[in-house]
């Protein structure tokens, strides 16, 4: 999947605390055979919590804390992490459903960090999102036909009879019968509703789809159908995915590359098979070892982390994982390690990456 990469782009992902002169507009990455479709540099998204009418009250929560990330054409980038890691917030920043508070975001080379609704419209045609809960993301009072046709009309993609034809195509693509166009969302099962959510995202013929936990609300047997649908659609339509999920087995199944998040930062990125086989960050290693596996009943080698993910309101000093890390040393509690390339395919934010 991944072509070999010249060493000059090995440092394409750099941590927030490292000076990022090497990435900003140097054209370095553009010379490589792989031009990113979407690029985030030191992206920050904050929320204010506990604000009252008193001026200056409230505390700032860094949900996305200076993330740099590239999404390359035709890849599926899996974004994994536990709840509170900021993966959904990052997904919503990438689709610009959220305003971005710091750093830059570019899509196909143009800066969309501050783009307003009007200038975002052409971007929305190319970047779509699929949400976790298909029941909550569909209007219960509108038929599938209306839900899908609205997208076509807003973006002026088809007109007249062309709309009907496209609606049929979309239903075929996601494996639903055309007759179902006249049904309401409540008449479908969870898996079918998620197919409708996927059809809505596909309606504008996007190049990039950000899917936020698209299968986690589904039962195993139905989940497998939808996971397969994602694979089929990617092959058929040359799609690029950012696939956000907490289920590491599902992410392994669909992703070509994986980024592991912890408390608003990326702690490791790498090619899927290599990352799962040899994690470099102690958190990735612990996360993988925590997953109960049907095909491997031995609990040996399991790393049992103590405690839970700390509050993002009050992240630990130094490395954010240092409070739970079995390998943590003094320096880890003082200096935050930047995300650094350790090979052409792997970046890790750790002072003592695992061999």
């Amino acid at each position: 999947m991944t072509p070999s990469i010249p060493s000059n782009v090995a440092s394409r992902t750099t941590g927030p605390s490292a000076p990022d002169t090497s990435i900003h507009g140097t054209g370095e990455t553009c010379l490589s055979p792989r031009v990113p479709l979407m690029s985030a540099r030191s992206l920050v998204k904050t929320f204010t919590v506990g604000r009252t009418f008193k001026p200056g009250s409230g505390r700032t929560l860094h949900a996305v804390d200076g993330i740099s990330l590239d999404v390359f054409p035709a890849e599926t980038l899996g974004l994994v992490g536990e709840s509170g890691s900021g993966k959904s917030t990052l997904g919503r920043c990438l689709t610009r459903l959220y305003d971005i508070d710091g750093g830059t975001l570019s899509f196909e080379g143009s800066d969309i960090t501050k783009a307003d609704t009007r200038s975002l419209k052409p971007v929305r045609r190319k970047v779509q999102m699929i949400f976790q809960d298909p029941s909550a993301s569909l209007n219960p009072r509108r038929r599938v036909r209306d839900v899908l046709a609205e997208v076509l009309k807003v973006h002026r993609i088809r007109e007249g009879a062309g709309i009907e034809e496209r609606l049929g195509e979309l239903m075929d693509l996601v494996g639903l019968r055309r007759e179902y166009l006249d049904r309401y969302p409540h008449e479908f099962s969870g898996g079918q509703r998620q197919r409708i959510g996927i059809a809505r995202a596909l309606a504008v013929e996007p190049t990039l789809i950000v899917a936020d936990e698209p299968v986690s609300a589904l039962d195993v047997s139905v989940q497998a159908q939808i996971v397969n649908l994602f694979s089929e659609l990617r092959e058929k339509l040359d799609l690029t995915y950012v696939f956000i999920a907490h289920d590491l087995a599902v992410v392994r199944q669909v992703s070509t590359r994986v980024a592991v998040m912890y408390l608003g930062s990326i702690v490791e990125t790498g090619e899927t098979d290599a990352l799962y086989a040899r994690p470099s960050h102690p958190y990735t290693q612990a996360l993988l070892s925590a997953i109960p596996q049907p095909h491997n009943r031995s609990r040996q080698g399991r790393i049992l982390l103590t405690g839970e993910i700390p509050s993002p309101l009050d992240p630990p000093a130094g490395c954010k994982f240092s409070t739970r890390c079995p390998q943590a040393q003094a320096v880890c509690r003082e200096v935050r390690p930047p995300l650094t390339a350790i090979s052409s395919e792997r970046s890790v934010a750790c002072h003592f990456p695992l061999a």
Binding site: V220, V222, Y276, P294, H295
Partner: protein
């Protein structure tokens, strides 16, 4: 791991649960039988709507008596408990059978401290002072691995993280040292690293206190890690049961094959496509006497329209017409042998 030598603690025979609905009586659980031995972990797995939670609630007498009819026989320590009156049941529930529910936020009362809630349960079953009950609550919270039980005991549920809340619920279930713990999806709401901690805790409880555990889950990974025996439910029936090792090594029922094929592997070569099961599980009002899985089963035949026979092989049993050697041949078409070596 086999503990089948020990005496039977809970014996469920022919449990059938029906709900009164607009469309008449609907059977959510059909003729379910299983037993739990002392100190054993039995896992009931199934997808949503398979009847696993209803089975559990009805055998504990926690169903709505106005709209639900429960038939069959449930014996706890040899004593039938389905016909007990609410007062008699209350003496068993909480003291001899502890319940751990899925969502610790709804299992806890938000306006009382967790220490108060644990003490309340202890005092409901034992004549002890409030002070002594609170002391026990602190001990229990320490027992389930809260790092600072002295402080945690005076906290309200919203002040605790999800994992801590689930530990508090487990502490409450343990408060009277029950012989049987019933856990309904105890780790589903938790992150994977916290889930690992809670599963470890359950295994430790079994070891230290000899509690038997009925673990309801939809996660085959969780089953494989902690269960001694497994019962797979589909459309209101236990379609397959047996010892965990045997079920994972050679599942008998085509639904079990589909369930295992649907799980993406975490190691080894990646599959181009998962072996998903087509279609969706039926709603209880659409299930007849025949095999509930037949409409989705690639190997269904006319005989499947009738009540499927119970076939036993070693420690396993399945409700399916398939017989050897055809069964093994068909299984190989779904699951490659190296996946289940």
């Amino acid at each position: 791991m086999t503990v089948a030598k020990k005496p039977i603690l809970l014996d469920v025979n022919g449990l059938t649960v029906s709900f009164a609905t607009d469309r008449g009586m609907v059977k959510a659980v059909r003729d379910v039988s299983f037993s739990v031995h002392e100190g054993e972990i039995l896992s009931i797995v199934g997808e949503s709507g398979s009847g696993k939670s209803v089975t559990l609630l009805s055998l504990l007498g926690l169903h709505d008596r106005k709209t639900t009819s429960v038939d069959g026989m449930v014996a706890f320590r040899g004593r039938g408990i389905l016909d007990l009156n609410p007062g008699e049941l209350r003496r068993i529930r909480g003291r001899e059978i502890g319940l751990i529910s899925q969502d610790p936020m709804t299992a806890l009362n938000p306006v009382y401290t967790i220490g108060w809630q644990i003490a309340e349960q202890i005092r409901a079953h034992e004549a002890i002072s409030a002070r002594a009950a609170k002391k026990r609550a602190v001990e229990l919270l320490g027992e389930v691995g809260l790092s600072n039980p002295q402080e945690a005991v005076d906290r309200y549920p919203h002040q605790l993280s999800g994992g801590m809340r689930q530990r508090a619920v487990i502490a409450m279930a343990l408060s009277c040292n029950p012989a049987l713990l019933v856990a309904d999806e105890p780790t589903t709401a938790l992150d994977v690293t916290v889930q690992a901690q809670v599963l470890d805790l359950l295994l430790r409880l079994r070891k230290d206190f000899g509690s038997a555990i009925i673990l309801i889950t939809h996660d085959m990974g969780v089953v494989s890690e902690v269960a001694d025996r497994v019962a797979v439910m589909y459309a209101g029936r236990i379609i397959e049961r047996g010892e965990t090792e045997a079920i994972f090594a050679s599942p008998l029922h085509p639904y079990s094959w589909g369930l295992m094929g649907s799980i993406p592997p975490l190691t080894g070569p990646r599959l181009a496509r998962l072996k998903s099961i087509p279609g969706i599980p039926p709603t209880p009002d659409r299930i007849g006497e025949g095999c509930g899985f037949a409409p989705r089963c690639a190997f269904a035949r006319p005989a499947c329209l009738e009540r499927p026979p119970l076939r036993k092989i070693g420690t396993q049993a399945a409700l399916c017409v398939l017989e050897e050697p055809e069964r093994s041949a068909l299984r190989r078409t779904v699951l490659s042998p190296e996946e289940f070596a």
